[in-house]
Amino acid sequence: MNIIDPAPVRKETPLKLYGEEFHSRLLLGTAQYPSPKILCDAVKASRTEIVTISLRRENARQKEGRKFIDLIGSLDVRLLPNTAGCNSVKEAVATAEMARELFDTPWIKLEVIANNDTLQPDLLGLLGAARVLLRDGFKVLPYMTEDLSIAEKLIEAGCEVLMPWGAPIGTGQGLRNPEALKTLRAYFPDIPLIIDAGIGAPSHAALAMEFGYDAILLNTAVAKAHDPVTMAKAFALAIDAGRNAHVAGLMEPRDMAAPSTPIAGTPFT
C-alpha cells in the first residue's frame, strides 16, 4: 500500500444563488467597453456565468435597442438586469418589471441611488423596493453598503443574497472598510455575500475572497483597462486564488518571526 497517497484537492462547492448553482465566482458588468466585440471577448476570458445589464440607458424597451442585447444574449450566460440610475422605489420597481418582461427573468440587481454624485445606495429606498419586488416574485440581489441592520432587514424581507459595496461605484478604491466587511461576513455566515462595486485591481478581489466573500461583481476595472480581455482573465485568476486561499485556511499573522526550518540540530552553524 502506498502510504503517501496524494491528498485529494478539496472539492470546490459551487456558488448557490436562489437555488441555482454557478461555478464562476465572478459577475461582470457590460457597460463602458470600447466595443461590443471586446465586451464579448472579455466575458469569455472571465469565464463568468452571470453578466449584468442596464435597462435605462440602453433604451432596451425600444425594439431598436435590441442589437446590443441580442449580442450579449448570444454569449450563453445568465443576464442579470439592474436598476442602475433609479433614484426612488417607484422608479426601481417599474424598471424591474420592465426588465422581467424584456429579459424573461425574475432576477434583478436592485440599485436605488441616494445621491447621483457619490452613487451611495439609498438604503431605505432599497429596502422598500426589495419588499415590493420580493412579494411580487422577484429574486432580488440588493446593492447595499456594509450596514448590518439593513442587511438583517433585507434578509427578513426575503433576500437570499446580499451585495455590499467595496467602495462607491466606479472608484476602483477596493475594500474601503475591510473591518466592517469582515464583520458582515462573520454575522451572516450562511448568506451568499457578493462584493459589488468599487473593485479596482485583482488584488482587491482576491482579498475579498480571502475574507470569505462568495463572489465579486465588477465592471469598470475590466471595461476601462487598456486591454479588457486580459484584465478579465486576471480577475478570474485572482478570484480563484482568493477563493482557494479561503477554502484552504489562511494562517494567522504572528508578531514574532518563526523559522520554517527548525534551527536546532542544523549542521554547520
Binding site: 470600447p34 466595443s35 440607458r57 440602453e58 425600444q62 431598436e64 435597442g65 442589437k67 449580442l71 466606479g170
Partner: protein, 337 residues
Amino acid sequence: MTSKNITILGAGITGLWQALTLARAGHHVSLVEKSAEPFDEASSWFAGAMLAPFCESESAEPIVGKLGLEAIPIWKKSFPGLKINGTLVLAPARDLSELKHFAKRTDGHRWLEAGEIENLEPDLANRFQSALFYESEAHLPPRKTMQDLLRMAEQAGVRMRFGVDDPSTQALSDDADDYLIDCTGMGAHEQLPELRGVRGEMAVIKSRDINLSRPVRLLHPRVPFYVVPWGGHTYMIGATVIESADPANVTLRSALDLLAMAYALHPGFGEAELCEFSTGIRPAFPDNIPKIVLHNQRHIYINGLFRHGFLLAPVLAELTRHYIETGRQTSELMIEN
C-alpha cells in the same frame, strides 16, 4: 487606367468623399440619395467633426488612430483653410485621475499648466490647473463642410440625384455601371446584419460671452463631454454614446448632462442661447472598426464609421479608389462578404 462608371448610394460624409475622390481621379460618378433635400437623413449632419486621431485612440482600436493620422493631410489638401488648432483636454480638479488615465492611453500630447491654458484659451483662465494639449489635431465646421463637399463633387463632374425612393434597388440595375458603392450607413442594416446603431445626442448653442478657438474635451467618469467651436459664436456640445438605434428626441437626462458639463466648463455658457437638440444614429460593427465590404466584384459597402465619419471618410475613399483601379486588396479594413 480606363475610367469606370460608378454609382454611389448615400450622400453623407462617406458617400460625398467617395464621390469626390473618384470623380477627381477621372471616373464617371453618380451619387444617389434617398432624402429629397441634401443631408436630411445623414447622421454626419450631427457630427462634431473633430479630426482627433490621438484623442480618439483613448477608446478606439489602434487602426482608427493610425488611419486618422493620414486623414488630416487629405483634408488639408482639399480644404486649405482647415484649422489645426489642436485639442485641449481638461478635467475638474477632483477628477484629475481621469486626465492621468487619458494621458496614459494616448500619444501626441503635452501637459499644460494653468498659465499655458490661459495663453491658448484666455476665457478658461484660472479655471483649470492642468490640461493635455494635442497640438496636431484639427476641427471643421461640419455642416458648411458637407455643403462644400457637395459643391466640390458637383464641380468635379459627379451627377447628383436626390429623393430616390429606394436607392438600393439601383443595385447594378444598369449594366453600364462597373461598380456600385453603398455608403448608406444604417440604411444598409438589412444587407449588413452585424451593423448596429449607436445613439448620439448633441446640442448646438450660441454664446457671445465665451470664445474658444479649438475643441475642448472635459473628462468626467460618467459623462465625457466635448465642445467644438463651429464659428460664428456657435458651439456644438456632445455627445452621448448609447447602445440603441432609437432615433427619438434627446432625453431630458441627456440634455441635463450635456448642459451641466458646458456649465461646468464655464459658467459663462449659462447665458448661451439654445439653438438645437438633435439625435443621430451612428452605424457601427461589433468591433467599432469601419469596414470596406466587398460583396461581389462590383458591389462594395463602406460602413460602420461609428464616431469617426469625418476622421476616416477621406481615407476610406482613397482605399476604395485604389481597390477599384488596381483590383488589389491592400487594407485590413477590406473584407469579402
